[in-house]
């Protein structure tokens, strides 16, 4: 009997655990998922939830409801990964041995590195608690300058901050305080999106809605006493409300095991998804250093490769299955409209539906149903 241990049960961990359980027999393989949380969160919903207080259960689901019965969920934190002895220490005192390990710990939101989120006018929408605080701040906002900016690159869902600008525009219009407000979107590049044609479309929509785009703004620090955000390039921008995407990095357990790069992300072969210079270890999702976006879509399209290669190795064969970097992305431009883009390692974003189609905007929100019912469970 072989044992596969998966560390981290967010979207990637649950999805890959379910996929492997569908392709193996109980008598041959045991699958253990280590994840301290009891719930899974549909993170894209934070974008909408910032503006309206739906109950948590609208986008949280108990892990036991989406994890196949065969997978054993241990509700604990992995505190040490010992690659020599092929074991994982847990916060509950147990040590689990593995034959194969899958790392799926995601990215850590390093809020402490900003040193300003304790202020009542500096927020983000990447964690549940932070988003509830942002909801309050938006509710109490009665005009002034809202500044939106990433802090580090890479961060989850590259278009999210730019989408947030569209959503905030609509929200302020609804509250009839748009004319008393300025919205500024700061971005590290020369244009509001890496791909030129998409960027041009977004710029056109920003111009239409009076959203100011600030180019080449690579976040350096928040001057919280003076309500200014300062860039590496030396620019300073005043804000009344700052929405700053928190710095992303790898988790402590990865760094301490010597499995992380400078930022704590796991160096992973972009095709086989095997961890570089390691036997029997794979990585999936936001924890990796893959040159693609940190997104659920990437985990979704790469999970079959991890599962297939692992099964090949268990049969004593070479892991020859390759992930080609394919992924898709919806860029929401209003609650009902969005652009749909395709990417892979071989080509930069290919636009599709760049007409800002009505239906696509609904897809991102409604996708939650497919996410909980089919994708997370490994059926799609």
């Amino acid at each position: 009997m072989q044992r596969i241990v998966i560390v981290g049960g967010g979207f990637s961990g649950i999805n890959v655990a379910n996929k492997i359980s569908m392709k193996t027999k109980r008598k041959d393989v045991s699958i253990i998922l280590i994840e301290p949380r009891e719930d899974n969160v549909y993170e894209p919903f934070y974008l909408y939830w910032s503006f309206r207080k739906d109950p948590l259960k609208k986008f949280h689901i108990p892990i036991r409801k989406v994890l196949r019965k065969r997978v054993q969920h241990i509700p604990a934190l992995a505190t040490k990964i010992d690659t020599k002895n092929k074991s994982v220490d847990l916060s509950n005192g147990e040590t689990i041995r593995y034959d194969y390990l899958i790392i799926a710990t995601g990215a850590r939101m390093a809020e402490e590195k900003v040193g300003a989120y304790e202020k009542d006018n500096v927020h983000h929408f990447y964690l549940t608690k932070a988003t509830t605080e942002l909801q309050e701040a938006l509710k109490n906002f009665n005009g002034g300058t809202i500044v939106i900016s990433p802090s580090t690159v890479p961060y989850k869902c590259p278009p999210a901050p730019m989408e947030f600008a569209f959503m905030v525009d609509r929200y302020l219009r609804k509250r009839k305080i748009r004319d008393k407000s300025t919205i500024k979107f700061l971005y590290p590049l020369l244009r509001p999106y890496p791909e030129r044609r998409v960027a041009a479309k977004i710029q056109e929509l920003y111009d239409k809605r009076g959203i100011e785009f600030v180019e080449f703004f690579n976040f350096e620090r928040v001057d919280k006493e003076n309500n200014k955000i300062v860039s590496l390039e030396g620019d300073e921008i005043d804000y009344d409300l700052l929405v700053l995407i928190p710095p992303h990095e790898g988790h402590k357990v990865i760094i301490e095991a010597g499995l992380g790069d400078r930022e704590g992300f796991v160096p992973t072969d972009r095709f086989t998804l095997k961890v570089k210079d390691q036997d029997n270890i794979y990585a999936i999702g936001d924890c990796t250093n893959l040159p693609v976006s940190k997104s659920g879509a990437v985990s979704h399209f790469s999970a079959p490769t991890v599962a297939k290669n692992l099964l090949l190795e268990m049969e004593g064969k070479e892991p020859t299955e390759k992930y080609d970097g394919f992924t898709i992305c919806f860029v929401v431009t209003s609650p009902r409209r969005s652009l749909l883009l395709f990417f892979s390692y071989a080509y930069p974003p290919k636009k599709f539906g760049l007409h800002n189609l009505f239906i696509y905007g609904l897809v991102k929100k409604a996708f939650k149903i497919a996410y909980f019912k089919a994708i997370l469970r490994g059926y799609l």
Partner: protein
């Protein structure tokens, strides 16, 4: 490491990565390097030809030279502040 007349402190091989990959890698390296050091960025991405010189200009560093190699470009950058 590429042999040049410059004493390269950090070489960033961003070949095989598309915009914004090469530029973000360069920015990371600029953050890590010391004032006066030379960096070398390797990129085969078309977009880099426009974006990297524009960023260097905006951030007030120096684009010392672009060397057109076989199938890729090598940008030599000096950190000025």
């Amino acid at each position: 490491m590429f042999m040049t007349k410059y004493d390269i402190a950090i070489e960033i091989d961003a070949r095989g990565s598309f915009c914004p990959g090469p530029m973000m890698e360069l920015i990371k390296a600029i953050r890590q390097s010391e004032v006066g050091e030379f960096l070398s960025l390797l990129s085969e991405d078309e977009g880099t030809r426009n974006d990297v010189p524009a960023w260097i200009n905006k951030a007030k560093h120096e684009l010392v030279e672009i060397i057109y190699e076989d199938g890729y470009d090598r940008y030599i950058v000096k950190k000025l502040h």
